[in-house]
Assembly symmetry: D3
Homo-oligomer: 67 residues x 6
């Protein structure tokens, strides 16, 4: 029954990579906490780089500097 | 003053349906908890089916099997 | 499969009132969006009044003034 | 290390305004709580006006009435 | 830089199990998305069983029936 | 009408510091986005150090090493 929310920057993650995340997190919750996979929910949120700040600036600016 | 966040898969919910959810949840909070509707906020988030996993797989895959 | 998160101030809501919220929100999602109640999740978060601000001040201060 | 999530209606906020929010919130956490800005994350979520309800109705409807 | 939020019911998860979740999710994000573990944040939220509803009822009630 | 959620580790933040955060964030949203302070909500969530991971380990472990 656990709920997992994964926030990442929106930079071209494929459906296949998302599927790997969903499966991997679900398996982890089964292994570590013995949770029921059938009711384990994983939601991936992709955030625009203008809307994600770290170190006081948007990721968009960091990417321009190669960070 | 309550805040309600509703996450659903992005599968064509109309503005009218959203309005029904907003009104229904607000009424419920007034009835059950005597909250002030004027400051009750309801936010609906629509999540792509590739980004919503349950049972270890994306909803996109489940929809292909008619689930 | 929808997920609903309800945030309210922590001011003595009983388990019975919480049960009414859970049932009411679940019913609403079934009625409006034809969702499956078996996989509809409702989470209630109770927030201390020192930790909830509106109008630039904590609810604790507002309560002292009878608001 | 703090995480800040800012939800606003999607009504044309520019990248420059977002940058001001990111910088301002980060500075505030440094000043008030002495947090490390390098690991302070600020995420801005823009929500469609159909999906944001207050007072039991969508912001879309309120905007039509000039609210 | 990803942020992961894991919500589970508050039913006696040990600090060691939490550490396993934190490490496992961080490793997964490194492997699947090549994210930097140093800035990957994992937050675990434990929710009282009265405050977690599924199928229209609180988990507290389900536990009484052995579910 | 904006909603701000601030997550910090639970390490003894006073009510006065919280009030400064609430006021500071509210003022920032008024200044940058011309939002109405009366309907601006700020919620502070304090997370136990066992439940907050960064760099693949809990903050509890990092604090023991003086980080």
């Amino acid at each position: 029954m656990p709920l997992v929310n994964i926030k990442i920057t929106n930079e071209g993650v494929t459906a296949d990579k998302k599927a790997q995340l969903i499966q991997g997190v679900t398996n982890l919750l089964v292994e570590v906490l013995d949770k029921n996979p059938a009711t384990t929910v994983v939601i991936i949120e992709e955030v625009e780089t203008d809307n994600w700040g770290i170190g006081g600036e948007a990721v968009t600016e960091r990417r321009k500097r190669g960070l």
